[in-house]
């Protein structure tokens, strides 16, 4: 599809480096799906939906800084919704999110609650100042929060909150956050991997399943079209958590 033109209707600050942008239309995305956001004259980058008509952006590079310079009324191009989102399954679900990765999970939790599915959330942030969407998650159900520095909730990584939960109580686990956090959770909860859906990140160029820049070793899964939500089962013995390829295709370390 050619990019369509969209107007940013509202900008909301969520944390010092995180903002939510409401677009002028609802593209009917499934939670976990993404769009390719064209900041004209700068770049085109993938962004998860944080709601039916919102994206939540963390300022990390040239393109996201360019988004931060945009206000209500600014125009962007976009293609989407793209990829495979989360599949809602069962009556009780657990959301495990880290940092800005909580954004698609807040959207998912809201869709689940409307479908009368019980939602529990475990969220990890660096510190109290970096917390986002606390209200959204708390209105869905039990919410456990961890902070790396202990400034709020349980001190430690998101995995520190796992001991508060009996994972067998949940029909499905949904995961999104920094790669090392997700990989840590997946390896600690490996017996649930067949019931864990993880929304992951790779370097997307085409977002159409043909350029190959996002393919996962060892099976060549095209994350941009077969993901970005994949069963943890498929990640356990993959490159996930070990390395990832950058824009040139060279392998580099996973950070975060």
């Amino acid at each position: 599809m050619r990019p369509i033109n969209c107007i940013i209707e509202e900008v909301r600050s969520e944390a010092p480096l995180i903002r939510t942008y409401r677009l002028d239309r609802n593209l009917n995305p499934a939670p976990g799906q993404y769009l390719m956001l064209w900041i004209r004259g700068v770049d085109e980058i993938p962004m998860s939906f944080s709601g039916p008509d919102t994206i939540t952006v963390q300022s990390v590079g040239v393109a996201t800084q360019a988004i931060f310079r945009m206000g209500a009324g600014s125009e962007v191009g976009l293609r989407g919704p793209l990829g495979n989102g989360f599949a809602l399954k069962g009556n009780k679900i657990l959301l495990i999110g880290g940092g800005v990765g909580t954004a698609p999970l807040a959207f998912l939790g809201e869709v689940a609650k409307k479908a009368d599915i019980g939602v529990t959330s475990l969220l990890g942030f660096r510190s109290r100042d970096d917390m986002i969407f606390q209200d959204r998650f708390e209105s869905l159900g039990e919410t456990i929060i961890t902070t790396d520095d202990g400034s709020y909730g349980i001190r430690g990584r998101a995995s520190a909150g796992l001991k508060e939960l009996n994972l067998f109580n949940y029909d499905q686990i949904y995961l999104c956050g920094p790669e090392m956090m997700m990989s840590d959770i997946i390896s600690r909860t490996a017996e649930h991997a067949a019931n864990t859906q993880a929304c992951i990140n790779r370097y997307f160029k085409c977002a159409a399943g043909i350029c190959g820049s996002c393919c996962l070793d060892p099976d060549g899964v095209r994350v941009c079209v077969e993901g970005p939500v994949l069963l943890a089962d498929r990640l356990l013995d993959s490159e996930f958590g070990r390395y990832k390829r950058g824009p040139s295709g060279a392998k580099g370390p996973c950070r975060g």
Binding site: I210, C211, G212, A250
Partner: protein, 305 residues
């Protein structure tokens, strides 16, 4: 029994390679990693061509890197690659699927091409003398017959495997380029790369591709590719590999009738890896229905005129 017969009826020797079937993965498509190349091979490709690799790492152009248009696909990836020094393992992984792996390489001079071909190990090389959207590379060399000849000659002298030359259609006379490749000692020519093209966003006037210019592939270019293959096959003594807009077995048959000994599929991979079996299955059934062989089919159009 059927499978064995079909497999054998499609096997060919083309451009110095033994191929179990004539349907290959084109350069630049799912060719960044060994795993995705391997997946294409396991899905039925008779051979796979890697993403083009050069002598230094490149991140490629800013996005958008592709734009869908009604009749095809525009792309300007910008030759992203980790450099040939960091690519050998990807080729090894791809080779584990058991089909030939053709390394697409690019450079800005004959010496740069030759240096890569001396070091990198692959089953064959395909010289990218045709990418239409990267400064100093691709068609910026490949539109000059003398450069096509000298680059081909340099790589032939450096490599001990077959050398294919991928030609640009962005020229007044592709035959001249094909003859130059042949003079340089090429084992085959591959025709065609994308047509230089662009698209503009009418809301704002911005060119849509990050690089402004890109290459058009897909359905729109198939008649151009068929014509180029027909012209080349009619005059060259070396084999022609046909590529450009093939998305069905009928397209592949048409390209083979134009004179292609094998074909490559690129943009159609958007529909998934199933395209290889779809095309090879279709060719097999066609040959059976017509009681023909691939050799009967190859260049048939040239013998009809």
């Amino acid at each position: 029994m059927m499978t064995v017969r079909l497999m054998s009826s499609l096997s060919i020797h083309a451009g110095g390679l033994d191929l179990k079937n004539p349907v290959l993965l084109a350069a630049g498509i799912l060719g960044t990693t060994g795993a995705s190349l391997r997946r294409a091979a396991l899905a039925g490709a008779g051979g796979v061509v890697t993403k083009s690799v050069g002598s230094v790492p490149r991140e490629g152009h800013p996005g958008p890197t592709i734009v869908h248009v009604k009749c095809g696909l525009l792309n300007a990836m910008g030759l992203p690659n980790p450099s040939y020094r960091d690519f050998q393992q990807e080729i090894k992984t791809a080779q584990s699927a058991g089909v030939p792996v053709i390394a697409s390489i690019f450079g800005s001079s004959a010496a740069e091409f030759a240096q890569i071909a001396r070091v990198l190990k692959a089953d064959a090389f395909e010289l990218n003398l045709s990418c239409p959207h990267a400064e100093k590379y691709g068609s910026e060399l490949g539109r000059y017959p003398d450069l096509v000849e000298s680059v081909t000659g340099a790589v032939k002298a450096a490599a001990d495997v077959p050398v294919w030359v991928k030609l640009t259609p962005n020229t007044a006379d592709i035959l001249e380029l094909g003859l130059a490749a042949q003079r340089g000692g090429a084992d085959a020519v591959v025709a065609i790369n994308t047509l230089k093209a662009m698209a503009i966003d009418i809301e704002t006037g911005y060119p849509m591709l990050g690089n402004r210019y890109g290459g058009l592939s897909g359905q729109a270019i198939k008649p151009v590719a068929v014509r180029c293959v027909y012209e080349l096959a009619g005059r060259l003594e070396i084999p022609v590999i046909g590529v450009g807009g093939i998305s069905s077995w009928e397209d592949a048959i048409e390209m083979i009738m134009a004179g292609a000994q094998a074909v490559q599929v690129g943009t159609a991979l958007q529909g998934g890896y199933g395209i290889f079996e779809e095309i090879t299955g279709g060719i097999s059934r066609y040959l059976e229905r017509k009681s023909m062989t691939l050799e009967d089919l190859c260049g048939l159009a040239g013998r009809r005129s």
